[in-house]
Amino acid sequence: MSKRIDVGDLNIYYGDFLAVEGVSMEIEARSVTAFIGPSGCGKSTFLRALNRMHEVIPGARVQGKVMLDGEDLYAYGVDPVNVRRQIGMVFQRPNPFPTMSVRDNVLAGLKLNSKRMSRSEADEVAERSLRGANLWNEVKDRLDKPGAGLSGGQQQRLCIARAIAVQPEVLLMDEPCSALDPISTLAIEDLIGELKQNYTIVIVTHNMQQAARVSDRTAFFNIAGTGKPGKLIEMDDTTKIFTKPGVKATEDYVSGRFG
């Protein structure tokens, strides 16, 4: 489990519009990498390009390379479905399947791989994943109740459990706490700290304290103006980005002087 990602000179287009330009970066295995930057700077778009989820939007395409342990995700003949089975994703708003129970939500990804599992095996995976997402104790008595009946924070942890149930190499998180209250946020942040033992984690956040708390490395994205492409300004160890960044724009942003 857990592989590194190398991105080489990646451009992302929506139709003719260049949304993200020339991003190169290395994301270490078993670490937490945070993407920060103002709204519309392309960090979410870039995150989605890492597991080809941007292709859901008509007209979206990329140029460049994204390598998962040396394998190009955009090579000819690579099925995006297989990419997403290795690189999981957690979204901004919790999105458990409303028609499924808690247990079925966790097992949803495994059923896709159409593996026949015995009931005891399935129970085991469900428990392991829910424990992994720090949710087991709260839901163990209502595994057959609908997933949508949980609180917002619990739903988000359910989504994390669902994502790690398939044991992906990488876990992408797109502002996973922005719809949650501070206590739920803390629970998720603790969880991220535990998950990085086993997974490569990339997290987009608008909350700079959060980036400082959870991540090992931080990438700052910025945009020159509306209609211009987003760019990676700088990427470094999180402590360095927040104490003595190399670029003036980064310093302005993290210190709140961003105009």
């Binding site: 997403r84 399947f97 028609t99 609908p146 398939v166």
Partner: protein, 319 residues
């Protein structure tokens, strides 16, 4: 808000938030909405009263006086059978087709094509039922006659396909097929709308787990749309049960028979349409009583649909 300071003194004494603070717009709308709701109930009650009171002589009459001479029940049950069978054939044929078309339009077809296709399907709904009837007699019946003959020959041991097959093709199966085409646009349109409303969030949840497009549809689109689809199917069933003209034209009617590939059988609606103009006295009452039976069947179907939809409410995705 300068007006509040100049409000008349009695306005200040009213308890805020409850009575008195109702704005005219809210009040008018509430009256209009309530009136519309009550009107529907009145119309429904009126129809029920009419049906029951006009049908009553049938139930009071001596069984030998009723058409067929053996009482109302033995008169009406073949018609009920015909009505249900025709509607069932229509649904069995139309539902899978409609779901396929709806999914194709909502999730597979390129945008331009899906719009065009949507219009075409909607256009099917705009064709009058007389035209469907003509099409059924002139084109469909002769063309499917061979298929029914084949069924009678090879599957004749099943009571439903007992031969000899009708030479004209104007059979229950043909009538069912015409009804299928007629209910197709309703089921398709309703299903398409609910499929399109599937939250992006749920679709992305499935895709991010590595679902193929079909798996995504099975995991998020279909569960989300299920109550709507059931509603659409029931609307279609309602139309199929009550459809008069097309069945009256296509079906070569006759007495009860299990065979769906020979002429015979009739539906309630078609029977009423065919016999009513020349009926008088007790026969009229009998036909109205048959209409009452149809009314009860449709009511039952709708209640069943509601029950199915509400059964797993907490899993419905509405919360």
């Amino acid at each position: 808000m300068t007006t509040t300071t100049k409000a008349p003194p009695e306005a200040d004494q009213r308890p805020s938030g409850r009575r008195g603070s109702v704005r005219p717009g809210d009040r008018n709308f509430s009256i209009a909405a309530r009136a519309a709701g009550i009107l529907i109930l009145i119309v429904l009650a009126g129809v029920t009263v009419f049906l029951v009171s006009e049908a009553l002589p049938t139930f009071q009459a001596d069984p030998s006086e009723i058409e067929g001479g053996e009482g109302f029940f033995s008169y009406v049950w073949p018609l009920v059978f015909g009505t249900l069978v025709a509607a069932l054939i229509a649904l069995i044929v139309a539902t899978p087709l409609a779901l396929g078309i709806a999914l194709f339009i909502s999730h597979y077809a390129p945008r331009r094509m899906s719009q065009g296709l949507g219009y075409v399907v909607d256009l099917l709904a705009a064709i009058p039922s007389v035209v469907y009837g003509l099409w059924g007699i002139q084109w469909l019946a002769p063309n499917v006659q061979g298929a029914w003959a084949w069924l009678a020959e090879n599957l004749g041991f099943i009571p439903l396909f007992t031969g000899p097959a009708s030479a004209t093709g104007r059979t229950m199966m043909t009538a069912g097929l015409v009804l299928a085409v007629m209910v197709l646009p309703i089921i398709t349109a309703v299903s398409r709308e609910v499929f399109l409303q599937t939250p992006k969030l749920h679709e992305e949840a499935a895709l991010a787990l590595g679902a193929t497009r079909w798996e995504m549809i099975r995991m998020s689109v279909i569960p989300f749309g299920k109550p709507g689809v059931i509603g659409g199917v029931m609307l279609g069933l309602g139309r199929a049960l009550g459809e008069t003209m097309a069945v009256a034209m296509v079906l070569s009617t006759g007495g009860f028979t299990w065979s769906l590939v020979s002429s015979g059988n009739n539906t309630i609606a078609a029977e009423i349409a065919l016999d009513f103009p020349e009926s008088s006295g007790l026969k009229t009452n009998t036909l109205i009583a048959a209409g009452l039976v149809l009314f009860v069947i449709t009511l039952g179907v709708n209640m069943l649909a509601r029950w199915i939809v509400s059964r797993r409410k907490e899993f419905s995705g509405a919360n």
